[in-house]
Subunit: 226 residues, 4 copies
């Protein structure tokens, strides 16, 4: 899972400026209010629109099953993904590492994870390798025989890496983060799959760097998108 | 590819009523205009909003690679899909039939397809079967050893069937149809993959049955979403 | 403020069906779970998408300043409004009644309202009448002299009544209600203007009638849109 | 009507980069294709998503009736507007100038405009002045008597100036331009009101400056949003 910030047009000042358009003349939140206080007020009382005048573009390299979860986020998100119809896919696959918990326990909707035994880790290593390499061999074989890319790719697993551009604003990003990360102090529980959380955490870091006051207000107000 | 219309609240009269709210009192398009003429005018001059007060809900059963293309349609679409995290997936896979053209010719962005030789069809039959069954065998094997569903599913191919609810309005449906079907008389070219076109054509039929005047206007005005 | 439910395709069963597509096979929330429990779980843990496969269409008659606030809601809402360019507007205006509080106290962003003195109510009665009738007289006078409707209407006040179709799904409706009503037990505060709250409360009633279990879950979980 | 470009993160190169993520490896449109050719191909064949990884933020000062038309554009647009609930509005109003055609002729949906007689222009001058000043006098009078801003503003006309931040991407901007400007060579007719067209034309200029190749492709392909 690799997330690269391609570009950002997103600062705390953008939020302040947009909010001031609405409230200029507002005594207690007017030009005297400090940016940190204004942003915290907007977050706490869920005035979301001032956070939308911002833009982040990321390049994400992640397996298809992660891309699929990501692209369910529609409002305020734009995507362009590598196409298996237009290009031959490279044989790069995601394999759970030794630290990846393999066993889910507890009840549905709120699973907990446990590491799993050495034997289980061994099975995963072996079966992923066997399954991925078998599929890719068939993919390449069919291409070699002149089968169209859009047909041959059907045998490729959802664990194969894809790449996509994802553009969002600070509000849609916070909505994504609130659902795809878990953190102490979150007002609402979320149970993201570990792999998409790794994507989200890298975006969270870029967000915090670009908009420190907004990020602080988000973290301090229960990690709910305004 | 199987599309079931779960429910629809969508008639030509819905469009007429919504348009009349805007234009009531409008002499030449007012209460005297026949519905067919009003709808054709709205379509031709691209007044899209009156078509939005309608709703179709479909149950789609299709391979993951089709669902992935479908869910890129964000505006005016809602989805709920079977989850490989929550349930054990069944081993039902899509395999190109003997009539499915296998060879792409021509230039990128405007591929044409040719049937392919008997040898190529044989390769596809053999390799799909081999690849799919190998992957599924590993999936089941890992589940049997207690590996979490969300991990084991990573080896499953994008050709496995999934199921999802998709809800849209007539405008977002026409936008989808304009990009995912090809038809004589279309003002803009499109090059959908055959499998998603099969989904789209079943939706097109349900659309034509529910809203015959709207469908006629769509077909007669270059199949451009208004 | 008058809200008429034009049509609805929205039941608690729609939510259950959509959720079951995702979770079928899920032991603890599967086919044995009662609808009320499933819906409450979806609301509490903010699984919003199952609520989107529903549709409400309302005809709203309200002043322009209310329509302006309403139409700021973009995601999951569709609108068609009476057009002052295409039709001659009728002289129907909103005037605050004797029970409408006229005086705001307290700090910005969290105003409280007080009734106001009889003298203040008298001023409002007199000035609204004077201002509205003067504006409408000029509007009609300009139309009589052949001035285009789209020009003459510029002098009309935002208190004049307009009419519009508004279509939404249960999720976008709950988001609207959470911002445009205030209620005991709401997890987040909101300070809607009284007139749009009157629109929202009529929609809330239609919502509760159509989807009683969903409404109950909304009310019991802090009136936050999932 | 005054439009100020607050900031832009939008270049032709952004489009090229996003498209290349999809098509890298694509022979005929790959790394050898010149940006102008690639962008023209995307526009012509209506591949819209690569244009979305861009962002423009404008400050618009325009009358309420223009803002109302503008804010009907929902997909890909964000707004923050001056609030008549939170601040006292200034008495700045829009009045049609001597060059503003006053008389509409022809049929509904495709009106033509004629200048109007000197007498008609005189009536407009007089009646706008009279109506605007009367309304504003009452607004101020009610404020002076302690009536809440959110009540007193109801008498203000839709011709009063408001200010708002509007953020969009290149695709949503082109959609707006295609509906709110008229131009030779447009594939679909549009009949925008003159005042919103003045807003749109200023945005069109900023768009052309920031993304000259994209703008050229838009202009050369019938001014249809991809």
């Amino acid at each position: 899972m690799k997330v690269t910030l391609v570009k950002a047009s997103a600062t705390d000042e953008d939020v302040v400026q947009a909010a001031r358009v609405s409230t200029q003349g507002l005594e207690s939140l007017g030009s005297d209010t400090k940016p940190a206080g204004l942003i915290n007020y907007l977050m706490r009382d869920r005035h979301g629109s001032p956070f939308e005048h911002t833009s982040f573009t990321f390049l994400v390299e992640a397996p298809i099953f992660v891309a699929r979860e990501h692209m369910r986020h529609r409002a305020g998100w734009s995507y362009n993904e590598e196409s298996g119809r237009y290009k031959e896919l490279e044989g790069v696959f995601y394999k759970p590492g030794p630290e990846r918990p393999l066993v889910q326990v507890g009840k549905a909707g709120a699973y907990q994870f446990e590491s799993g035994t050495p034997a289980q880790h061994h099975v995963v290593d072996r079966d992923f390798y066997s399954s991925y390499s078998w599929a890719f061999q068939h993919y390449r074989g069919m291409l070699d025989r002149g089968i169209a890319r859009e047909v041959a790719r059907m045998v490729l697993p959802v664990g194969i890496y894809t790449a996509y551009y994802a553009t969002c604003n600070a509000r849609s990003l916070m909505h994504f983060l609130s659902l795809r990360t878990k953190a102490d102090g979150a007002k609402f529980p979320s149970f993201p799959q570990e792999e998409i959380e790794k994507v989200a955490l890298q975006m969270e870091e870029a967000f915090g760097n670009a908009m420190p006051l907004t990020y602080l207000a988000y973290a301090n107000n229960g990690r709910v998108a305004p």
